[in-house]
């Protein structure tokens, strides 16, 4: 227990229900390749992994520091393009991944610093607008510089041999599953996500994290007790950007493809916002729950509705209402419901009912 406390930076989930959900998500992700068959399930699990990192890094900004930024997918995209273009241009080796990641991190932190220093002094709404503008410029650049990025089509590339589907870690199977390169890649993502999540938990529970929370609540008060809020906000912005960049690298390595639709689109920005809000702002566990719920709904709602539609055949109206084509309508209703019933997010609600 003491080890767990230290690992989670003394920030244990605040209720039994919340702990149970988090443990279930963790175990589900840990054994996903063995619990669920088929590539759709593994793809969904991997997507949850990098979106947990992405949503948690956004929560560092929105929930802990009170900064609204629309440039988060830009940093995600920089990571994706950094690793993707390196693998495409320099060949499928680990050094390409490392070099691409390093270049992407430098670019992200430099951009985050520039945006932060130029605009974190202004009112929050203007900061949000500036990030929106910069992110749009970046998305246009990515699509216009076709010779480099592949334009709207993006780039498809090979990953290092260890991570390819044809690779076998050893002969034989575990629980009826052959351990191929995809599963190695999945566990690489899992370990990366876990390490980054625990590191972020450490950041928000450090004295630095407390200052961020103080700034979120009232920046004048934070200044009056001696903290330079612009500096703290800028550092938070850089940390958050760097983590989002690594999430982008995870995405690029998993998908073996990088394009505007998977990394830079504004839809992803909205998805991240929804994940953080539904899960609960200002608690990294909320990002885990938000991202998992959101992606599960996105992946399986259609299938579930198909099943319901078939099961209710013969009853008037219901089969039409649950027709798989109406899945977006139900997704929307689910979100409205969750915001209505859990205004402080799911974690906020569960934490209160202890």
């Amino acid at each position: 227990m003491r080890f767990l406390r230290a690992l989670l930076s003394d920030d244990l989930p605040r209720s039994r229900a919340l702990s149970a959900i988090l443990v279930a998500i963790f175990l589900g992700l840990l054994f996903a390749p063995f619990l669920f068959s088929g590539s759709q399930a593994l793809n969904a699990a991997a997507k949850i992994l990098y979106f947990v990192v992405l949503a948690a890094s956004y929560d560092l900004l929105l929930g802990y520091t009170g900064i609204v930024s629309f440039a988060h997918t830009m940093f995600f995209g920089i990571g994706g393009y950094g690793a993707g273009l390196a693998l495409y241009g320099w060949g499928p080796s680990w050094s390409s991944v490392a070099a691409g990641t390093a270049i992407a991190l430098v670019l992200s932190v430099a951009l985050a610093t520039a945006i932060g220093l130029f605009s974190l002094r202004v009112q929050r709404i203007f900061f949000a607008m500036i990030t929106l503008a910069v992110a749009s410029v970046f998305a246009i650049l990515a699509s216009q510089l076709g010779w480099l990025t592949g334009g709207e089509d993006g780039r498809t590339y090979q990953v290092p041999p260890l991570l390819r589907p044809g690779f076998r870690l050893f002969e034989g199977e575990i629980g009826g599953v052959a351990i191929n390169g995809r599963i190695v890649a999945y566990y690489l993502l899992l370990v990366t996500a876990l390490v980054l999540f625990l590191a972020m938990l450490r950041v928000v529970n450090s004295p630095f994290g407390r200052v961020l929370q103080a700034i979120r609540e009232n920046d004048f008060r934070a200044e009056a007790i001696g903290y330079r809020t612009v500096l703290y906000r800028s550092v938070a912005n850089c940390v958050s950007a760097a983590v989002a960049t690594v999430a982008g690298v995870m995405c690029a390595v998993w998908l073996r493809y990088t394009g505007p639709a998977t990394t830079l689109s504004f839809d992803i920005m909205l998805d991240i916002l929804l994940m953080v809000v539904i899960g609960g702002m200002g608690t990294l566990y909320g990002a885990v729950i938000g991202a998992t719920l959101f992606l599960l709904a996105e992946t399986y709602l259609q299938t579930l509705m198909g099943a319901i539609s078939r099961a209710t055949e013969g009853i008037p109206l219901l089969p039409a209402l649950f027709h798989p084509d109406r899945w977006l309508l139900w997704l929307g209703i689910l979100f409205i419901g969750s915001v209505y019933f859990f205004p402080a997010g799911i974690v906020g609600r569960l934490g209160r009912d202890r």
């Binding site: 004295p207 407390r210 200052v211 929370q213 103080a214 979120r216 609540e217 009232n218 004048f220 008060r221 200044e223 009056a224 007790i225 001696g226 903290y227 330079r228 809020t229 200002g282």
Partner: protein, 241 residues
Amino acid sequence: MPEPLLSLSGVHTHVGPYHILQGVDLAVPGGGVTALLGRNGAGKTSTLRTVMGLWRASAGAIRFAGLEITKAATPDLARGGIAYVPETMSVFSDLTVRENLVLAARAGPPDAARLDWILTLFPALRTFWSVAAGVLSGGQKQMLSVARAIVEPRQLILVDEPTKGLAPAVVANMLAAFAELKRTETTILLVEQNFHFARSLADTVAVMDNGRVVHAGRMAALAADDGLQRRLLGLSLDSHQ
């Protein structure tokens, strides 16, 4: 006569289109309590905010401990030894009592002996040590707000109406705490509407009206002169008797 710890000369402050401070001259001698009195809207809070750099003086000079601080940034002033207790119970409500105090200590954990002393001044804070500050009562929040200002020794504490809206028992606790703090030679600039509270603590007094200091002198002299009180403080005195 030694130079005062804090002095304002001809300070003007504009907030948006409003000309709030219109040439404030004020001297706060080191090592005692100076009360800043006056009716609502006279410019008392604006004076504190201007000293703290939260509003910029548009003219005039502010000196603190021999240095010109008119243009200094708020965090630098806080680090330079000025603490500010605003009137709005300025706790960080999501952080616990302990975290609020640790945050104010800035450089590492607060000194244990000093913390112990603070918790004897405000025993309620010990009871709610690990509770989020947002759920404290108004009086407890005010105590935490003052405790945060003194968690490290400061040269000057600016306190804005610490008794506003508090129950008599909490006011008595606050009075005892400030009296104890005064014994440690900390300089306090106290904005207060409650004349009796101010009278029992302050050595010197300044009275403001319409963005200027209209009277400055010994508190004992003002306390002994009913006519002067009535002329300077008028209704604000009656309302607190």
